[in-house]
């Protein structure tokens, strides 16, 4: 019986069957990857235990096939080498999978990082000091999972994970609220050149919300009482209040004051600031600072700051030039008493900021009607009216039209992420997400999110993110550059200037990492994998971090295998035996 099993395990028939089934499974895996992405293919196939089993079966087959032919004849040298090579490669692959490290290290330009992000996502429970209380592996899969996936104990209460999305895109949506809520509109701007859609939510009823959208500024003022609504609908300038703010920073604390000329404010206990002059369009004429026009083109404010002991500072602050020194006579150190940093926030006139116009919305206090107000920069033309949902209205700037797609007078935020079932787009910036349930409440966590979790006993935070591996040293990114192809904007090179900082060994080592030119340090290899850039932020260079103890085993196996195949195909048994015979004869004589 044992002999029979051995013979079967060593048989050519098993070899053909396992080779073909491996080929079929691999073909299926590549299709899975094209539909669901790399991670899903890995979870569903490459990383599954049955796939390892299939490779194991092939390995056993190769091993038995070699053993059953023992003692080997000379002409089988190639055969033995080939099969030995395959076994060594499979062994090396196992070592890599079991003990290797394969992760990512994103480093922002100018900062230092030592936490390698691994593949597996974890739920971190953090206390209000930011300390990690627990790290819980989450149920991963290639497809969406729902139901009672797992339960965890946090701070004496039970949380349940009831949904897992392998590919989710964070989504901001507003839905009707049954309890408290705030007004929200979804506005669409359409023209031949662009088409944008945006939610505006007046979460803070006092300030409303506004943002730049396409060529215009769009604002939602929230609910307006009848008096304010009348002014909103009137064809006359509608300025609720001064929109300029002065910010003073003293000993790390920030204070903000509305800019109203002549007013004085106390701050930071003993200090007093007086707004002396406000210049909406500041220019220097005859060595004197004056305002050329009342338009908000280059706003500046002059203020006096004094304390009770009679120390006094005079500052001029420009909103457009925050880098200027604001203190008068700053070169004389004696004139600097308070060590303040001042900043002026002022809304520029629309013509200065290049905007074509402004579109505002406001709803009545009873939430029954929604009104719009269109202001055109060019000629200050104003049009107002009642909004009809879904109806297009000409804005008067370029050929743009607007449309209110949805309006919820009492809304709440719905953060359910969008599930990307199949990869129908080239976008790859999705991440996995989980839904945590505690009693009746649920909250969504997309990878990289932190959410607070107020419990009875204490306040905890939940962070859902990749498992981290701290390196024994850190990587400081000095500079990241993208080189272009000559005369194009097509990226040709990615280069990161880094400094390895190893405090334990007292080493600081400079290096450059670029595509195909990795850095090796402390057994780890760092590759330039990708980069992220966001407007107004320093670029983030992403390194692939790798530690592979099976590398040399695989290389050795590969060499043995290729050598074996060449021997097998080139060495005709006849020649082979003859060479051996000649060798023997030589020895004998």
């Amino acid at each position: 019986m044992q002999k029979k099993i051995f013979r079967f395990l060593a048989s050519l028939k098993l070899a053909v069957i396992s080779l073909l089934s491996l080929a079929a499974v691999l073909a299926l895996a590549t299709i899975t990857e094209s539909l669901y992405g790399m991670r899903a293919a890995h979870l569903m196939i490459y990383g599954s235990f049955w796939f390892t089993g299939l490779l194991g079966l092939l390995g056993i087959n190769v091993l038995c096939a070699a053993l059953i032919r023992y003692p080997w004849k000379r002409h089988q040298t190639g055969f033995v080498f080939t099969h030995l090579g395959i076994l060594v490669i499979l062994g090396g692959a196992f070592v890599t999978q079991r003990w290797g490290v394969d992760g990512n290290l994103p480093v922002e330009e100018g900062s230092e990082e030592r936490q390698v992000l691994l593949q597996r996502p974890l739920l971190f429970v953090l206390d209000d000091q930011g300390r990690t209380r627990a790290q819980i592996p989450m149920p991963e899969s290639g497809l969406k999972r729902e139901g009672d996936l797992m339960r965890v104990q946090v701070g004496g209460e039970e949380l349940a994970i009831d949904t897992y999305l392998p590919r989710a895109v964070p989504n901001t949506n507003y839905v009707e609220s049954t309890s408290v809520g705030f007004p929200a509109v979804e506005v669409e701007l359409l023209s031949s050149r662009f088409n944008v859609k945006q939610w505006l939510a007046a979460v803070d009823p006092d300030t409303g919300t506004q943002l730049a959208l396409g060529p215009a500024k769009i604002a939602f003022l929230g609910s307006l009482g009848s008096k304010r609504m009348d002014r909103f609908l009137a064809q006359a300038p509608f300025v609720e209040k001064s929109e300029s703010t002065l910010q003073i920073e003293a000993e790390g604390k920030q204070f903000r004051f509305p800019v109203e000329v002549g007013k004085s404010y106390r701050f930071h206990q003993a200090l007093r600031v007086r707004i002396a002059r406000f210049l909406p369009h500041a220019i220097v004429q005859n060595k004197e600072l004056i305002s050329k026009t009342p338009e908000m083109l280059n706003p500046a404010v002059q203020v006096e700051v004094e304390d009770d002991r009679g120390n006094r500072e005079l500052h001029t602050v420009f909103s457009q030039f925050p880098e200027f020194t604001t203190l008068h006579g700053a070169r004389d150190p004696r004139s600097n008493h308070f060590n303040l940093r001042l900043r002026l926030y002022a809304e520029l006139s629309q013509s200065a900021s290049g905007l074509r116009g402004k579109l505002s919305f406001a709803q009545s206090t009873d939430g029954k009607s929604l009104a719009y107000r269109l202001e055109r920069t060019r000629d200050h033309q104003i049009r107002t009216g009642a909004v009809k949902l879904g109806e297009k209205v000409q804005t008067g700037w370029m050929d743009a039209e607007f449309r209110v797609a949805r309006w919820i007078s009492k809304a709440r935020l719905d953060d359910t992420p969008r599930y990307v079932e199949k990869i129908a787009s080239s976008e790859s910036n999705f991440a996995s997400a989980i839904r945590v349930r505690r009693g009746e409440d649920t909250l969504w966590l997309v990878e990289g999110n932190t959410r607070s979790l107020p419990l009875k006993s204490e306040n905890l935070n939940l962070y859902y993110g990749k498992e981290r591996l701290p390196l024994p040293f850190s990587l400081h990114l000095e500079k990241f550059t993208v080189g272009m192809d000559p005369g194009t904007t097509k990226a040709a090179r990615y280069e990161s200037e880094v400094v390895v900082k190893d405090a334990l060994k007292g080493i600081e080592k400079r290096a450059q990492i670029s595509m195909n030119e990795p850095l090796q340090y402390g057994g780890y290899t760092f590759y330039q994998a990708s980069y992220q850039s966001e407007e107004g932020r320093p670029p983030v260079s992403v390194f692939a971090v790798n530690w592979d103890p099976g590398r040399w085993i695989k290389y050795a196996g590969s060499l043995i295998m290729v050598f074996g195949i060449i021997l097998m195909f080139t060495m005709n048994p006849h020649y082979w035996n003859r060479i051996f015979d000649l060798f023997k004869q030589g020895k004998a004589s």
Binding site: S426, D485, P486, I565
Partner: protein, 571 residues
């Protein structure tokens, strides 16, 4: 009109206002520029799409992109692009912009029978802006585009390119003075006073360029070859003062490559050789056979020469897109076929491989939309890497060996299907087929592992289950399964051939399918679309041939007259 005043009027707005007026007066006289010295202007260097190339190449690529042809109405590509620069108003009503995709024409309510449309018609089209907007939104959201939407982008790019050509923006003719890979300056910068202020050229050079380009447009408008030659000569003299203007020999070499069309003549010679050899088999005349083989060798030499030229022009290993890999693999197939053919002294081996090479080169020649023949700069991940070159060349050479195996397999299948089964002859051919499969297996195993070495070196993982490497492995597994199936006794004479031929479908998937069908993975630099129909019909035809062969094989083996051993008996 006073000549001097006229010229001053030109200086500021050479290409915008003054020219159309001029043309209006001379439009009849202006139509003939055949006796201009276009050869000279086609040798000017231009920086375009990430590379410095002669105008000749730029013009061919541009003309092809806009019109789908490399020449138009008797005009060479160079003449054509210059007339778009200098005389665009005359083209407004001429239908020359190719819109071939029928659903797009339907969407745009264009005449479905027409292939070309005028700038005027397309500009006035009511539906186009809406389509373009929809597509650009989709692009912003990074979604995958439908076929129609890709064609919309293409049309938008055609119109954009024409705009850039007529305004001078696309004519990046002025070399960068500081760095060999720095951006060159477009012609349009000359016409804008403010912009030209900071140009890194001596003032007198700028004046010359401005003046001579004005002369150039005058010469074009007046159809004066002499004035044209004078102006081009002066412009060229200024351009050549730049330290980073390419060497004349390099420009000439590329033009030589453009004109020679080595791969077209290679397939013509291959095809001719195959026909002569088939004829020689019918009449079995030794002289004809030698002539046929000689023709094949001629095609092979030309093929190699074209390849060498391309390597010299691009200055890099030549297997980075589908077009180049087709050229390389067809060449490799001929190489292996000649080697095996030489070893066994059988002309049928190179002849059958030549069929594959002919088909491959014809596809490369006739389907420029699928197999882009233009020379592009490399993707970042492919740059300056020894292992990449080795790995790709080895893997693609294994495809070449498998292609020879496929061709011989099909010759055998043809015998099974259409003729009386000649077991001895089949066994001989099966041996040759086996030899090329062996070469392929060694190269593919080595190449896949070298790919691992490269991946380890560049990406930090020896094996990352990337679809391209997985499919190379699948192809290898299929061939190995066939080899083991023979030892297991499962595959006899017919089955072994069929197994070899079917395993090639794995190669096809690794070579073409991963990039064009699956469209995912790290090897994304080679991606493209199209050609699926061709490949699918090949697969269908292949399976049909196998079925037809099986039919005859079964009826013969039922009679028991067949020798089912795979290889010829040892002597």
């Amino acid at each position: 009109m006073n000549g001097k005043a006229h010229r001053i009027g030109h200086l500021s707005k050479i290409f915008t206002v003054a020219l159309p007026l001029l043309i209006a007066a001379n439009s009849f006289a202006g139509s003939d520029h055949r006796n201009f010295d276009w050869d000279r202007t086609s040798r000017w260097a231009i920086q375009n799409r990430g590379r410095v190339k002669p105008i000749d190449t730029f013009a061919r690529e541009t003309a092809f992109f806009v019109t789908g042809k490399s020449h138009w109405d008797g005009k060479t590509a160079t003449e054509l692009v210059f007339s778009w620069l200098l005389d665009f108003p005359a083209w407004q009503e001429t239908p020359f912009i190719q819109v071939a995709y029928r659903p797009l024409k339907e969407k745009l309510a264009l005449n479905l029978d027409d292939k070309y449309f005028s700038p005027h018609v397309l500009r006035e089209n009511a539906a186009l802006p809406e389509l373009i907007r929809g597509v650009s939104e989709k692009q912003q959201r990074q979604e995958r585009l439908e076929e129609l939407e890709k064609k919309v982008v293409e049309l938008e790019n055609q119109l954009g390119l024409l705009q850039a050509l007529s305004s001078g923006e696309a004519w990046t003719l002025l070399p960068n003075q500081n760095a060999s890979d720095g951006p060159w300056i477009p012609l349009s910068a000359l016409t804008h006073r403010e912009e030209s202020h900071g140009l890194p050229y001596p003032k007198e050079h700028l004046e010359t360029l401005r003046g001579e380009f004005a002369h150039l447009s005058e010469a074009f408008a007046r159809s004066s070859p002499e004035a044209w030659s004078t102006a081009t000569g002066k412009i060229e003299a200024v351009l050549r003062t730049s330290p980073h203007y390419p060497a004349e020999s390099a420009l000439k070499r590329e033009i030589h490559y453009n004109h020679l069309r080595p791969f077209r003549f290679a397939w013509i010679l291959y095809l001719l050789g195959v026909i002569i050899l088939i004829v020689s088999r019918a009449w079995s005349v030794a002289g004809i056979r030698a002539a046929g083989l000689f023709t094949l060798v001629g095609g092979f030499v030309l093929h190699a020469y074209g390849f060498a030229l391309r390597v010299l022009i691009s200055g890099r290993p030549p297997v980075t897109n589908m077009y180049e890999s087709v050229i390389w693999v067809t060449w490799g197939a001929m190489l292996f076929a000649f080697l095996i053919g030489l070893a066994y002294r059988k002309w049928i081996i190179p002849a059958s491989a030549a069929v594959f090479s002919t088909v491959g080169l014809i596809l490369a020649d006739w389907l420029p939309n699928v197999l882009d023949p233009a020379i592009h700069p490399l993707e970042p991940v492919l740059r300056s890497n020894f292992w990449l070159t080795i790995h790709v060349l080895t893997i693609t050479l294994s495809y070449a060996a498998f292609a020879v195996s496929l061709c011989l397999g099909n010759v055998i299948l043809g015998n099974y299907a259409f003729r009386k089964i000649e077991s001895k002859w089949i066994q001989q051919l099966t041996l040759y087929m086996y030899r090329s499969t062996q070469i392929g297996v060694v190269l593919l195993a080595a190449g896949t592992i070298l790919g691992g070495v490269w991946a380890d070196y560049s990406w930090g993982r020896f094996w990352g289950w990337d679809p391209k490497e997985v499919w190379a492995l699948i192809a290898l597994l299929l061939y190995i399964a066939v080899l083991h199936g023979r030892f297991a006794g499962w595959l006899k004479s017919f089955g072994f051939v069929v197994g070899n031929v079917l395993a090639f479908l794995g190669v096809l998937m690794a070579w073409y399918g991963v990039n064009f069908v699956l469209g995912v993975g790290l090897h994304s630099y080679g991606f493209g679309t199209g050609g699926t129909g061709w490949v699918a019909s090949f697969v269908v035809a292949q399976i049909a041939l196998i079925v037809a062969g099986y039919w005859n094989y079964r009826s013969a083996s039922e009679k028991g007259t067949l020798d089912t051993s795979i290889f010829p008996k040892k002597r």
